[in-house]
């Protein structure tokens, strides 16, 4: 049976319709390039919509001492210095413009008494820095980008899933995707491709992430020859819901602590004072998540295995105004009125710091013509991401990857996609539907989540990681023989086949990175190597997929030039040092 495939050609093809993808597409389209965006969901519903607390940008609206230097300083310190300093510098310098641009496009942020954009405190930010709209900042951002895209000449393909990237010799040539609605195929030939497909939190069971976060783009690019870095760095957010079971892992924004909430163990002790006497409840996420984990292990956990979070002292009116979504979420899902009682929280998988290795200026990967931005890319966050730094990341580097793709596309001819490769991929994708026996994707997904929790969770050690590696390799073998019942029409069982394949590949990369990094740093906590080691701080672990499987090698972390390195020698945050000098 010959397939009825649709063929399209673009200058710039963006895979991913979250904040990073939409911002990239805007950049290319505003400059007149023929641009398309693909997303697995409807427009405006990508994972970005869930972001709550805010977007970090040193606008200095409430704390005038703030500036790019301090934002840069906070980011690198939280990253435990294995991030790309150049990305951190660009990010800190450009984030304010990206936020103001959103305001110009129609975003309506909360205001200060002077009528400026309001900024709230967040974990490990030296100043009040997060521009926000209550606790629904992600929605405001994605809606604004959606509304902007609608004014431009961008073709938006909704509910479509890319399964493979194609190359023309060494350079990128485009992708194939299926429509979720009816399983039809479309082939997109493009001069440049931007991957903006988000993270892979769904490899874990207890997670704040949406179903979309299966790491497709990172896996597709990895198979096409692009490099992954820092894969071992997976962020646990300290405060996910613990109860009811169906809600386990759903996020409770850091904004609750930002607005004054505090953590206690079952004995009523404010335990964060012990783990970080200075920043306490607003310490960085790796420290707070480990703090809760240690309390539970020591037998001081709450009934459902977490810690208490209490913001009742702020009063009902304040809470309902500042955290309306949280008030509503806990009330409707867990029957808890957070204005009246404390509630339970426990760490949940939240963000993947690792990902595609990119050039800091353009988002270029190691494959010519292939760019990446947002959560699927590595480099900015190192060993631990600061809250609020992802929404700014997707805006700053989404724009830059769009511009990088545009420049590349301008000087190149339309590539060609080999038809035999297309046919082979169509066959591969359809095969699970015609198998009469095979593995169940739902079951494999559960097995993967079990392996990741058991071997590559918050607490790791070499022996367990090695075991995990063996188990995930067996699992990878099983993912080749999956079966899907039913038709090609909107069939989640069939869609799950490819999600699982992607997550298992990246899961293996997480475990391999974690085995190699024989130290504890940021999100990576190894009980057999409990200390942060100087020599390990000088490398990133980079992985490449070859005919023999995954190969891993250390790459030196780029060394900071003196004009940036001096910012860390002041004995305090640069903004504080400046004002101290003035006084």
């Amino acid at each position: 049976m010959s397939e009825d495939i649709a063929y399209h050609e673009y200058d710039v093809l963006v895979i991913g319709a979250g904040g990073a993808g939409l911002r990239a597409a805007i950049e290319a389209a505003e400059n007149g390039l023929k641009t398309a965006v693909l997303g697995k969901s409807l427009l405006g519903k990508a994972h970005t919509v869930m972001a709550e607390g805010g977007v970090a940008a040193a606008l200095g609206n409430v704390d005038p001492q703030d500036g790019w230097e301090t934002h840069f300083y906070d980011t690198c310190r939280s990253a435990h210095f294995i991030n790309d300093y150049r990305m951190a510098e660009i990010h800190a310098k450009e984030a304010p413009d990206r936020v103001l641009e959103l305001e110009y496009w129609g975003a309506v942020f909360d205001r200060t008494p002077e009528g400026k954009i309001m900024q709230r405190p967040f974990g490990a930010h030296s100043f009040r820095r997060l521009a926000h709209v209550g606790d629904r900042t992600g929605k405001e951002i994605i809606r604004t980008l959606e509304q902007k895209i609608m004014t431009l000449n961008v073709d938006v393909y909704q509910e479509i899933t890319a399964t493979k990237l194609f190359k023309d010799q060494e350079r990128i040539a485009g992708c194939i995707a299926y429509y979720r609605e009816d399983g039809r195929f479309a082939v997109f030939t493009a001069k440049a491709v931007v991957i903006a497909t988000g993270g892979w939190g769904k490899a874990y069971k207890v997670t704040s992430n949406s179903w979309e976060s299966t790491g497709d783009g990172a896996a597709l690019a990895f198979r096409a020859g692009a490099e992954l870095a820092d894969m071992e760095m997976v962020q646990f957010h300290p405060t996910g819901m613990t109860w009811p079971p169906g809600a386990r892992g759903i996020l409770v924004t850091e904004g609750v602590r930002g607005e004054g909430g505090f953590l206690c163990n079952s004995e009523g002790e404010r335990f964060m004072e012990k783990y970080d006497p200075v920043r306490k409840d607003l310490s960085s996420r790796d420290v707070v998540a480990r703090g809760i984990y240690k309390e539970v292990k020591a037998g001081r956990g709450t009934p459902h295995g977490g810690a208490w979070l209490d913001i009742t002292h702020k009063g009902a009116a304040f809470i309902k105004h500042k955290l309306p979504g949280m008030y509503e979420q806990l009330l409707s899902l867990a029957d808890v009125d957070i204005t009246k009682s404390r509630f339970e929280v426990a760490p949940t998988i939240h963000y993947t710091m690792g990902g595609l290795r990119v050039d800091p200026y353009t988002g270029a990967t190691s494959v010519p013509g292939l760019f990446a931005a947002g959560e699927c890319a590595a480099g900015l966050h190192g060993a631990n991401r600061l809250g609020g730094n992802s929404l700014s990341d997707i805006l700053v580097f989404g724009r830059r990857a769009g511009a990088g793709a545009m420049e590349y596309a301008k000087d190149t001819k339309m590539p060609k996609i080999d038809d035999t490769e297309v046919q082979a991929e169509v066959e591969r994708v359809l095969a699970p539907l015609s198998r009469t026996e095979g593995e169940n994707p739902y079951k494999l997904h559960e097995d993967l989540q079990e392996i990741m929790a058991a071997h590559a969770g918050i607490e790791r050690n070499g022996q367990s990681l090695e075991e995990g590696l063996g188990r995930i390799q067996e699992l990878r073998e099983r993912t080749e023989h999956q079966m899907a019942k039913g038709s090609r029409q909107f069939n989640p069982g069939w869609h799950g086949v490819f999600d699982v394949q992607n997550m298992v590949l990246l899961g293996e990369a997480i475990i391999r990175g974690a085995i190699e990094r024989k130290e504890s740093r940021g999100a990576q906590w190894r009980t057999d190597f409990p200390d942060e080691l100087e020599n390990q701080g000088k490398v990133n672990y980079v992985q490449r997929l070859t005919d023999h499987g995954i190969e891993l090698h250390p790459e030196p972390v780029p060394e900071m030039p003196e004009e940036l390195a001096r910012l860390f020698k002041l004995g305090m945050a640069p903004g504080l040092a400046n004002s101290a000098r003035k006084e």
């Binding site: 969901s41 409807l42 427009l43 405006g44 519903k45 990508a46 994972h47 919509v49 869930m50 103001l100 641009e101 305001e103 110009y104 129609g106 309506v108 205001r111 002077e114 009528g115 400026k116 954009i117 709209v133 629904r136 992600g138 929605k139 405001e140 809606r143 509304q147 902007k148 609608m150 004014t151 909704q158 609605e181 949406s210 179903w211 979309e212 109860w243 009811p244 079971p245 169906g246 809600a247 759903i250 996020l251 979504g325 509503e328 979420q329 409707s332 899902l333 994707p441 739902y442 899907a484 019942k485 039913g486 038709s487 029409q489 909107f490 069939n491 989640p492 069982g493 069939w494 799950g496």
Partner: protein
Amino acid sequence: MPDEITLSVYRGDKSGGQEVEYKVPIQTGMVVLDALHFIQAHDAPDLAVRWNCKAAHCGSCSAEINGSPKLLCKTRVDDYVGEVIHIRPMHSFPVIKDLVTDVSWNYEKLRQVPAFQPAIKAPFTLQQRDVDRIQEFRNCIECFLCQNICHVLRDHDAKDRYWGPRLMIRIAELEMHPLDTGDRLDLLKGAAGVGMCNITKCCTVVCPQGIDITDNGIIPLKERVADVYWDPLGGLVRKLHK
């Protein structure tokens, strides 16, 4: 509480379909979407349902539960103990498969709304009290439950004459932005058809975000349209002072 609940879920596509019953073990605090996920994992892997956030942020999981338009991820199973839970797709949009409907019409109309046209460059100086109202509207999650329930669209299928409540509050958020210079009143009176709304408030009742669509959005828009068309000079003055 019983340990099992019966869900009767619409299964079908363009060509028709019917409800099929599934039994699901009850877990404390379970939402209807959890129950559907259980069915997918155990009985019907190809059961089609949209979802994303599972936290009432994205507006993907709209459906009709025992006849009421609701979000599947926000509706608790224990609200229906002792009953069969009937789950059907939104009535006002064509079914694609099972609980998934074709909502593309809404996006077509959203595209036709003239965008925000600010009078000045950012940064803006805006007081919180001046943006409270538009922030209420921008809290919309585009679940289209209001579009689904509005009788003008649902019973009279007048999509060619009225764009529906979601589009009204989109227009309202722009019209009420203190720095917007656009003019959408002709559109409102004409193609968007604000006059078709007869203020039954059903949209406001179903809105999962609690947006006061009718009182805060549609009625003020109707007044603006009436002002301009009955009193052109007054309307002009008002626009200049906006």
